[in-house]
């Protein structure tokens, strides 16, 4: 596409691969570049202000709002999006009773516990919950609530999302 306003060229490391970004405008957020330039629309934009968590990705192991990160400043960072979680968590890939695709345990629990309705908040929440449980495998109810309180879900009222997190914690405990 002829893009007169942008001529930045850089490379991002996303989901284990080097991805070239060409002719970008310097003001583009990481969220925009992932979605519109790299074909990774998993992270969603719902506020572009750091308030809703829909755009959560992992950057060097930290959960960040990709809407608040300038893409050009993410050069050199290890970025993982919801699309890359199965590969990043190979030991957790499961084939559920009802689910024949490869998904992580967190992804599976969101489906089986009813944590998904419209699903717009889901990718961000999935990344946030993976991040939480990696850091804190046995969180209290309050720790769960606090850690996902930056992820707005308008559909579920959060009840089934708590149930999904709880289910993952129990399964992981039983397996360890």
């Amino acid at each position: 596409m002829n893009d007169p306003i942008g001529n930045e060229m850089y490379s991002l490391h996303v989901n284990g691969q080097d991805r070239a970004v060409m002719d970008a405008w310097v003001g583009e957020s990481l969220l925009y570049v992932l979605r519109e330039r790299l074909g990774l629309p998993g992270a969603k934009g719902a506020c572009e202000q750091g308030e809703c968590g829909s755009c959560t990705v992992l950057m060097d192991g930290d959960a960040v709002c990709s809407c608040l990160v300038m893409a050009a400043t993410a050069v050199g960072s290890e970025i993982v999006t919801v699309e890359g979680l199965v590969e990043q968590n190979p030991t957790m890939a499961v084939t559920a009773h009802a689910i024949t695709s490869q998904v992580t345990d967190v992804q599976q629990a969101f489906i089986t516990e009813g944590g998904v309705q419209c699903g717009f908040c889901t990718p961000g929440l999935i990344v946030a919950v993976h991040h939480l449980l990696d850091k804190n495998p046995d969180p209290t109810e309050l720790e769960v609530k606090e850690s996902i309180s930056g992820n707005i879900c308008r559909c579920t009222g959060y009840g089934r999302i708590f149930a999904a997190v709880e289910a993952v914690v129990q399964v992981r405990k039983a397996n360890s």
């Binding site: 629309p41 998993g42 719902a46 998904v116 606090e146 930056g150 308008r154 559909c155 009222g157 009840g159």
Partner: protein, 756 residues
């Protein structure tokens, strides 16, 4: 788009917690929301909006925008080839403001360009000269004949009077109040987004859109584009929640206009700020209500006056108003009533559909009144409600008999029996205090309160509208494929439809075809209607297919088809030993049937507000327990106990999700959510300033689903989407009243309402 294949689970029939067929795609990021679309050579579209709530447009100069490199088109009102206006009930809303802008954020022009940033620069370059006018923002003022008309159709959108029984009926006790309901936003997460592909030659367009009602959109779009409807094809884009906000046109016409003008695919998506201006909101309302009752608390008569602020354009205001006033009595018996309702045009943002649709406003008033009545007669909140509880066969103040199953008493009693939460523990973390992560509440100032709310909600459309839904079922080689235009907005119809097919047809594998306008209308995903309406259509289509399958099998095996039935996955002879699996029976054949489900007819209201205007009703009770820091005015909702009349649970996992989600939205209206207006200007169009319930605000929900199958409903199930968000709001406010002793006549309750 290709058909989505269903995962096969063992017998995920009606009643099972079948899982969402789109679940895997949604958790892995593979699901395509309308904002996720991308096309080779696409351009971005963007909208220039009025900064003023009311102004005359003197001139618009688009040339500076057109000179910017990368800009392909700039369009204004003069570029609309067809009808200049649109609207769900009355086409009074312009595609672009031309002479006047009537609310802050009204579209004035659109651009197409190669990058969102180029769009932004182009919008900035358009020069609009306004003569700024004084906005009319008070509906009471707007109604006065001395006030200037801000629209050629006038300032009064609708007035309806109800008089029922004996308007002079006398009583021992009266209680009255003036209630205010603030403007709530649907705040779906998935912002307005669409992609339009022009047909080569420019005689048609295909729009991928997140909407609640494809066919209604199509009719309005085609009229504005001056194209025959068949040249406008709509495909449902992935929808990130709706809650009423996608019932009206937002960017649909704009996106198509740009595609047709540029000959290129156009992607449009609103920012969050723009979204606050781009869709209608819940009507702010002022309600005066007076209850007349006997000494022992039996309602004798209700008087009320309701004023709904419709904002600048009609949207669904006339229907919202009727819902409000016809639910004045709540789920209680009432023989006499005088009610007047007004929906009024102002220079505030247009208001329309939001989950609960007028009943939310009425319910806050009637439930506040029930507590006043309880106090006046020395009854408990529970007893006053039980004493007046509506039953099947009772009459509404419209004269309509409630034929629906009406387990109001059961809803109340079963809610009451739910155990209360433990008192706040001495060791409670500050995060559990009112105010949460603000960590400001003082344990010693925290008082617990309990409150009640009970509601009645009409299901489906009213006032004579011929409401229907269409579905097609095609059965072949043991696989059923279903086609409907029903909007899946998150509610789970894509889960339910295959459950119905499995139950009726005895197959396990069900494929869902794309939802688009290549089949008849399904009506809107609103008014708690899709399980009943589209569910009824899928059920009907599957039954027709089954009938033909029985004929086919009967002929082949020489059995009277009347003797055949489906048992699990087999067809059996009820009086013989014959048995064949449905899968085997359908090898090599294809049976396809389409069914339209209509609900029973309703009537208009007459000038006295009498008439059978609604189809059916659902009921629910909520009990709220709150902790309040009375010094700081902070509230934490601890527990919501609820028993809801659902008819029949078709999918327990989906059902609980509807209840919990609705409760969170009702909680939002009770204590945090409000679009703050200042003389026609929206002060908080962002998620930073418009507060939504987070995980830390979520109360513990203890829910009971009351299953008394509804004979009128095709599957015995009532709509369950709206009731959860209606009476929870007054229940929470009543709980805050009980903790604070304050009157609290408006929602949302703000800290200053409690502590000042």
């Amino acid at each position: 788009m290709s058909a989505t294949k269903q995962d096969v689970r063992s017998r995920d029939t009606l009643g099972a917690s079948a899982l969402r067929p789109d679940g895997v795609a949604k958790v892995t990021g593979a699901f395509s929301f309308s904002s996720d679309m991308w096309a080779e050579n696409m351009l971005w579209g963007a909208t220039l909006r009025s900064p003023h709530p009311y102004a005359r447009i003197i001139s618009i100069d688009t040339t500076p925008a057109l000179l910017i490199s990368g800009v392909s088109a700039v369009l204004t009102a003069q570029d609309v080839p067809g009808k200049a206006t649109y609207g769900l009930i009355s086409a009074d809303q312009p595609v672009f403001a031309s002479e006047y802008v009537r609310y802050m954020g009204e579209p004035v022009a659109i651009v197409a360009a190669d990058h969102p940033e180029t769009c932004r620069r182009a919008l900035e370059a358009i020069i609009v000269n306004y003569e700024v006018l004084t906005p009319v923002v008070d509906p009471e003022l707007a109604m006065l004949s001395s006030t200037e008309l801000i629209h050629p159709d006038g300032n009064l959108i609708r007035h309806q009077h109800i008089v029922h029984g004996d308007p002079n009926a006398a009583s021992d006790i009266t209680v009255e109040g003036n209630y205010t309901i603030g403007m709530q936003d649907q705040a779906f997460l998935g912002l307005e987004a669409a992609m339009a592909f022009p047909d080569s030659g420019g005689n048609g367009v295909e729009l991928h859109i997140a909407t609640q009602w494809l066919h209604e959109d199509r009719g309005q779009i085609a009229a504005c584009l001056a194209l025959p409807e068949e040249n406008v094809r709509l495909v449902l884009g992935g929808v990130g929640g709706a809650f009423g906000a996608r019932e009206d046109i937002s960017l649909q016409v704009h996106c198509c206009l740009l595609a047709l003008r540029t000959g290129k695919p156009i992607k449009m998506q609103y920012s969050r700020e723009e979204s606050f201006f781009g869709h209608v909101h819940r009507h702010p309302a002022k309600i005066w209500m007076k209850h007349h009752a006997t000494k022992d608390g039996k309602i004798v008569k209700i008087e009320s006056r309701m004023v709904f602020d419709g904002g600048a354009y009609t949207s669904t205001s006339p229907a919202v108003l009727i819902n409000g006033i016809t639910h004045t009595q709540g789920p209680y018996q009432c023989d006499n009533a005088i009610v007047d309702g007004y929906a009024v045009r102002t220079n505030n943002p247009p208001c329309g559909a939001m989950r609960g649709f007028g009943v939310v406003q009425a319910c806050f008033a009637h439930e506040s009144q029930m507590d006043l009545l309880a106090a006046a007669c020395g009854l408990s909140p529970v007893d006053v409600r039980l004493k007046n509880a509506m039953r099947t066969g009772d009459k509404l103040i419209t004269g309509q008999t409630v034929e629906s199953v009406a387990p109001v008493e059961r809803c109340i009693r079963e809610t009451d029996a739910i155990p209360m939460p433990e008192p706040m523990s001495q060791k409670a973390n500050v995060l559990e205090f009112p105010g949460g992560s603000g960590r400001t509440a003082d344990r010693h100032n925290i008082i617990r309160g309990v409150g009640w709310g009970v509601s009645i909600k009409n299901l489906m459309y009213s006032e004579g509208f011929d409401d229907y839904a269409t579905a097609r079922c095609t059965l072949s080689d043991g696989v059923a494929s279903l086609k409907f235009a029903t909007s899946e907005v998150g509610q789970g119809f894509v889960t339910l439809a295959p459950q119905i097919a499995r139950s009726v047809l005895g197959i396990d594998e069900v494929v869902l075809e794309t939802s688009d306008t290549q089949i008849g209308s399904a009506g809107s995903t609103s008014a708690s209607r899709q399980t009943w309406m589209s569910g009824g259509a899928v059920d009907g289509a599957c039954r027709l297919v089954r009938e033909r399958l029985f004929e086919h099998v009967g002929k082949l095996h020489n059995i009277d088809p009347i003797r055949l039935m489906v048992e699990n996955t087999d067809i059996i002879d009820t009086v013989g030993t014959f048995r064949i699996s449905v899968s085997d029976a359908t090898q090599g054949i294809t049976i396809s049937e389409t069914f339209e489900h209509h609900h029973r007819k309703t009537e208009d209201l007459d000038e006295n507000g009498q008439g059978n205007c609604h189809v059916a009703f659902a009921f629910v009770a909520h009990r709220a327990v709150v902790d309040v820091d009375v010094e700081l005015g902070l509230v934490k909702v601890v527990q919501i106990a609820t028993a809801q009349d659902v008819g029949r649970v078709l999918n327990p996992l989906s059902a609980i999700g509807q209840l919990e989600g609705g409760i969170a939205q009702g909680l939002g209206l009770a204590v945090m959510e409000e679009i703050i207006m200042d003389n026609g200007r929206v002060k908080n169009p962002s998620f930073t300033d418009y507060l939504l319930p987070t995980a830390l605000d979520a109360p513990r929900v203890v829910a009971i689903m009351i299953e008394e199958p509804e004979p009128q409903a095709p599957l015995g199930a009532k709509g369950i989407g709206e009731p959860p968000c209606i009476s929870v709001t007054p229940a929470i406010v009543a709980a805050i009243r009980s903790a604070t002793g304050k009157a609290l006549l408006r929602v949302p309750v703000r800290p200053q309402d409690i502590c000042l």
